[in-house]
Symmetry: C2
Subunit: 109 residues, 2 copies
DNA sequence: TTAATATCTCAGCTGTTGCTGATATACTCA
DNA sequence: TGAGTATATCAGCAACAGCTGAGATATTAA
C-alpha cells in the first residue's frame, strides 16, 4: 500500500486545529501505572483502598491520592461497606468510562 | 442500579496487579495537546511538518520533536514528497494505531 | 555555488507531577 | 471512651517532560 500525497507539494496553511482537550485529560489520567491499574482492576468489580494498594505494592495514601484524581474526573465513586463501614469500596462510573473511551477513540480511530 | 459489594467486608490481599505498561506508554503520548492533535489531523491524510505547525500555532522544531516521539513509538512514519522532496509528509501507521487503541481499551473497556 | 526553505537535534531552563512523611478524620470494637 | 484500623489531605522534595534558542542537515531555486 502506497502513500497518498498531494500531486504538487503545496502546503495548506488554512487547516483548523482539532479540539483534543477531552482526550488529553483522560490520557493524562491513564498515563500513570497506578491509576491505569486501578481502573483495570475495578473492571472486575469494586475494591477497597487497601486491596488496591496491596495488589499494586503501593502505599495506601498514595493510592488514595490517585483515587481522588479519578474521583474528581468522575471516573470512579466510593461507597462505604454496609457491614463494616470503615472500608470504602470504589467502583467505576461506566457512563463516564464510555465517554473517556469515546474521547480517545476520536483521536486514535 | 445498586453497588455489588461482598456480603462481609473481608479485603482480599491475594489480587494480582494487571499489566498496563502498553496502555500507559500510549497514554503518555496522547497526554499532550500537540501530539494528540497531530494524530487526529493525520486521520484525514498525510501532512507535512509546516502544515501541522501552522494549524496548531506551534513552532516547527517543537512539532518536529513531538513527531520524533510518535515515530519512535511506531505510530507515524515520514515520506519525502516526490515533486518537492524538501517536504516531509507524515502519515499514521494504522496497524500500530490499532494496537495502541487495543491497549487502552484493555483498561477502559 | 549561494541563498532560502524545511526539518532535525539538543542543551538548558521551567513548570508539572508523583512520592514521602506527617497529620487529620471516620469508623469499629473492646 | 479509648485504642486500633481505614482512608484522606497536604506541604515539600525530586524526577520528568515540554518549550526555547541555537546550530546542523537536506533540498531547491536563483
Amino acid at each position: 500500500m502506497t502513500l497518498e500525497l498531494p500531486v504538487l507539494a503545496i502546503p495548506r496553511f488554512d487547516l483548523d486545529p482539532p479540539d483534543v482537550t477531552a482526550a488529553v485529560s483522560v490520557s493524562a489520567l491513564l498515563a500513570d501505572r497506578t491509576r491505569a491499574a486501578i481502573l483495570r482492576m475495578l473492571r472486575d468489580g469494586p475494591h477497597c483502598v487497601c486491596e488496591l494498594a496491596a495488589a499494586l505494592g503501593e502505599r495506601e495514601n498514595n493510592v488514595s491520592n490517585h483515587l481522588a484524581r479519578l474521583r474528581d474526573a468522575g471516573l470512579v465513586r466510593a461507597t462505604r461497606h454496609e457491614v463494616n463501614a470503615r472500608f470504602l469500596y470504589y467502583e467505576r462510573d461506566e457512563t463516564a468510562m464510555a465517554h473517556a473511551r469515546a474521547a480517545i477513540d476520536e483521536v486514535l480511530r
